[in-house]
Amino acid sequence: MEWRHRHVLDLDSWDRSELQHILEQTRSMDELLDRPIKKVPALRGKLVVNLFFEPSTRTRVSFELAEKFLSADVVNWTASGSSTGKGETLRDTAWTLEAMGADAVVVRHGAVGAADYLARKMRKSVVFNGGDGAHAHPTQALLDLYTAWKRLGDLNGRKLAMIGDVLHSRVARSDIIAFSRMGVKVELSGPPTLMPRAPEAMGAIFRKDPHDAVRDADIIYLLRIQRERQEEGMFPSLDEYHQFFGADSRLMESASPDALVMHPGPINRRVEISSEVADGPQSMILGQVRSGVALRMALLFVCLGGVRQ
C-alpha cells in the first residue's frame, strides 16, 4: 500500500487499513525474531538517532534492538531537562541531528507536542514519537494492538477494559484510538479524579465500577499508577487504590477466564496489579515486550525502507 504517514507522531489520522497493514508487517518481523540469525540488511546505511529527554529503558532498548536487527546505524542521544532551561532548544537539537545526517529520530520528551514540534522543524528526517508527555505513545499502542490481534484474530466487536490513571497516560490515549479504530469497544474505569473530562470524545465509555468494565471484556488493560499522583493527592492512598481498582483475583472473578491481561510495564505489584494476575495464565505482559521489538522493526521498515536511498 501507498504509505502516507511520513512521521509517526500519534495515531489520530490513521485509518483501519493502515493499522491492519502495520499488523501484517509486524507479523513478518515477528517471524524473523524466531530465526537463529535475526539481523536483516533492510536499513543498512541509515542513521537512526534515539533522542531521549526522559529516562526510559524499555522503549529505548526496544527501539534500539529493532534498529539493530534491521542493520541501521544507531546513536543514542541522551538529553536532560527541558529545552527552555539550560542547554540548547529542541529546535537547535533538531537541526543539529539533521546536520549529522540522521535519517530518523526517535524522540521521547516530557512535553506534550514535542514530537510534533520536532517534526515541524525537521526538513528531511523522519520522526518517531517515543512518547510525548501525557499525549501519545503510538508505538506502544501499536504493539498492544498487535499483541491482541495475534492472540484473538479480528478485533472488530471485541471489548477492551482499561483501568487506571487514564488522565495522565499517553499509553491510554494512543491505545484508545488504536483499539477503537479497529472496532473495539473501549471502557474505562478508575478513580474519577484520574479520568479525562471527555472520554466519549475520545471514543470510550467511563464505568464507575471496574467490575462492570471488565465484565465481558476480551482484553483487560491495566495502566501504571505513578506514585506522584498519590502524593499530589489525586487519590488517598495506594492501598485504597489497590483495594478498589487493582487487578487481583477478586476483580478477575468478574471477568471472563479467557480475557487477556495487558500492561505497558513496568508494573507496580500490589498497586494496579497483583502478582497472581501479573504472573497468571491470562497475562500477556511479556508477550507485549516481544511484540514491541517486532512492531518497531515493522514501523521503521515501512517508514524508512525504500523511501530514500
Binding site: 489520530d12 529545552s83 532548544t89 512535553a111 506534550v112 514540534y117 510525548d132 490515549r173 471527555a198 475520545m202
Partner: protein, 441 residues
C-alpha cells in the same frame, strides 16, 4: 492643517449612517460633519467612498512589555502596531518589569508614548504593590498621574479581602478595577481547556469554573460595595451566565472578550498539531463557549472587544506547546479577524453593534479625563481620533511585515476580510505612514 474626509459611511460610535457624509478636521479637532464646502482650502482630501469612518478604536487590554521586556515589544513598536491595526488608543497592562505600580512609571509610559509614532498609549496601574497581591498600590497617585484602569493582569487579585479593599478604596478615583478572572487553585500547571482538548492531548485541563468562580466572587463584591468592576478576556459560557445575571440586576459590571476567543477554539490546538501559537490564558475554549460569546455579543451583553495582544520573542514562543509562553499576538489583525468571523457566522449582530465594541463600548469603561480623545464617538469639537475601515478589503496576514515585534500569530497566512485602512490620532494620520505628509490622495 485642514483635512477633509469625503463620502464616508459614518459610524458615530452608536449607529451606522445610511448615506455618505463628509467630515472635516481642523488641526487636532473634528470641525464639521455634513456635506463639505469644497470651495474651502483643505490641505488634504481623502475620498472614503465605500469605507466606514469610525471613532478611533480603543483596545482596553494589550501587553506592550515596556519597561523591562523590550525584546518582546516596546511602547514605540506597540504604538506603531496599534496604529496599523486601526487602534488610536491602547491601554497597556502593568505586568512589566518592574510592574507598573507607581506614579513615576505611569508618567514614564505617558511621556514615552507621547513621542511614539502611532496609537496613544494609556497605562493601566497595578492594583497591588509589585503586583504581588498583598497590599494596595498607590492607586490615588497613579490615577492622578494618568492611569486609566487598575489591574494585576496576568494574575487575578486572589485575596478576596484585598479585592474588596481595592474596590472600596478606588471608588473615589473614577478609575475602574479590571479583574483577570482566574481561580489559581484550579489552574495549576493547566495548559488547555478542560474538555475535548485536555482529553485528547494529555495536557492539563483548565476548567471553565476557574474563570466563572472568580467572576462570581467579583460580582458578589461588586454587589457588596456598589463599586464598578470590569472582567477581562471572558472566555466561557459559564462565566456569561454569571455576568448576564449580574447585569440583569443592574450591577455596575462590565466585561470584554478577545478576538481569539471569538475566532478560535480548542480544536485549533489539536488540529494545529499542538502549535504553541494557540497557547493562551485563558485557553481557547470549546465551540459551545465560542458560540456563546457570539450570542452574548449579539444580544448586547458584551461591553468591549479587547485584544489581550501578548507579544513574545520567537524564542519564548516557538517551543513545544507545554514549554511555550501563554499569549497570542494580534494587534495588527484583531479587527480583521473579528470582522471575518462575524461575516462567516452570517453577521450575528449589526455592524454598528460590532464596531461599538471597539469604540463607544471600551470608551465607557475608561475615565473621560483626557480631553475627549478616545471618547468613542464622532462629534464636532472632539479630538480627531479616527479609524477608517474598508469592509470589503481582503488581505493575507503576513506577520513578517508587522510593526509589532511578535513574529508568531494564529492568523499568519490567513486571508481576512474587513481591514482598518487609515488611522488618525489627534488629526495626524498615523497609518498608513507614507501618506502622512502627502497632498491630495
Amino acid at each position: 492643517m485642514k483635512i477633509l474626509l469625503r463620502n464616508a459611511i459614518l459610524f458615530d460610535g452608536v449607529s451606522l449612517s445610511g448615506k455618505e457624509t463628509d467630515v472635516s478636521i481642523d488641526g487636532s479637532l473634528i470641525e464639521a460633519i455634513g456635506d463639505a464646502d469644497l470651495g474651502r482650502d483643505f490641505d488634504v482630501i481623502h475620498d472614503l467612498s465605500g469605507k466606514i469612518l469610525c471613532p478611533g478604536f480603543i483596545d482596553l487590554h494589550c501587553h506592550l512589555r515596556d519597561p523591562g521586556q523590550e525584546w518582546r515589544e516596546d511602547l514605540s513598536s506597540g504604538s506603531s502596531a496599534g496604529a496599523a491595526g486601526g487602534f488610536t488608543t491602547l491601554v497597556c497592562m502593568p505586568n512589566t518589569d518592574p510592574p507598573l505600580d507607581s506614579p513615576a512609571l505611569v508618567s514614564y509610559v505617558l511621556e514615552k508614548s507621547g513621542r511614539s509614532p502611532g496609537s496613544r498609549i494609556l497605562p493601566a496601574g497595578c492594583v497591588s504593590r509589585e503586583r504581588k497581591g498583598k497590599v494596595l498600590a498607590e492607586m490615588g497617585k497613579m490615577a492622578k498621574a494618568g492611569a486609566v484602569i487598575f489591574t494585576d493582569d496576568g494574575n487575578p487579585v486572589s485575596d478576596t479581602g484585598l479585592l474588596r479593599l481595592a474596590l472600596q478604596y478606588s471608588s473615589w478615583l473614577g478609575v475602574r478595577l479590571m479583574e483577570h478572572p482566574e481561580e489559581k487553585s484550579l489552574t495549576k500547571d493547566a495548559q488547555v481547556n478542560e474538555g475535548i482538548c485536555s482529553s485528547f492531548s494529555g495536557l492539563k485541563g483548565w476548567p471553565s469554573s476557574a474563570e466563572a468562580s472568580d467572576i462570581s466572587r467579583g460580582v458578589s463584591l461588586c454587589r457588596d460595595t456598589g463599586v464598578p468592576i470590569h472582567f477581562t478576556h471572558v472566555s466561557a459560557e459559564d462565566s456569561l451566565r454569571v455576568l448576564r445575571e449580574a447585569k440583569a440586576s443592574k450591577l455596575p459590571v462590565t466585561f470584554d472578550v478577545t478576538p481569539h476567543h471569538l475566532c478560535l477554539s480548542e480544536e485549533n490546538v489539536i488540529e494545529g498539531g499542538y502549535d504553541s501559537v494557540f497557547k493562551v490564558n485563558p485557553p481557547l475554549r470549546s465551540r459551545r463557549d465560542r458560540d456563546a460569546l457570539w450570542e452574548a455579543l449579539a444580544e448586547g451583553t458584551v461591553d468591549a472587544i479587547a485584544t489581550d495582544h501578548a507579544p513574545w520573542h520567537i524564542d519564548e514562543k516557538d517551543l513545544p506547546f507545554q514549554e511555550a509562553s501563554f499569549g497570542i499576538a494580534s494587534l495588527e489583525c484583531a479587527v480583521a479577524a473579528v470582522l471575518t468571523e462575524w461575516e462567516e457566522r452570517g453577521r450575528p449582530c449589526s455592524m454598528g453593534r460590532l464596531l461599538g465594541l471597539f469604540t463607544s463600548g471600551p470608551a465607557s469603561i475608561l475615565p473621560g479625563v483626557w480631553g475627549g480623545a478616545g471618547a468613542g464617538r464622532i462629534e464636532v469639537g472632539l479630538t480627531a481620533d479616527l479609524t477608517v475601515l474598508d469592509p470589503e478589503l481582503e488581505q493575507i496576514v503576513n506577520v513578517e511585515k508587522w510593526k509589532s515585534k511578535a513574529r508568531l500569530t494564529p492568523w499568519n497566512g490567513k486571508r481576512l476580510k474587513g481591514w482598518p485602512v487609515m488611522t488618525m490620532v489627534g488629526g495626524r494620520t498615523v497609518h498608513p505612514v507614507e501618506e502622512t505628509d502627502r497632498g491630495l490622495s
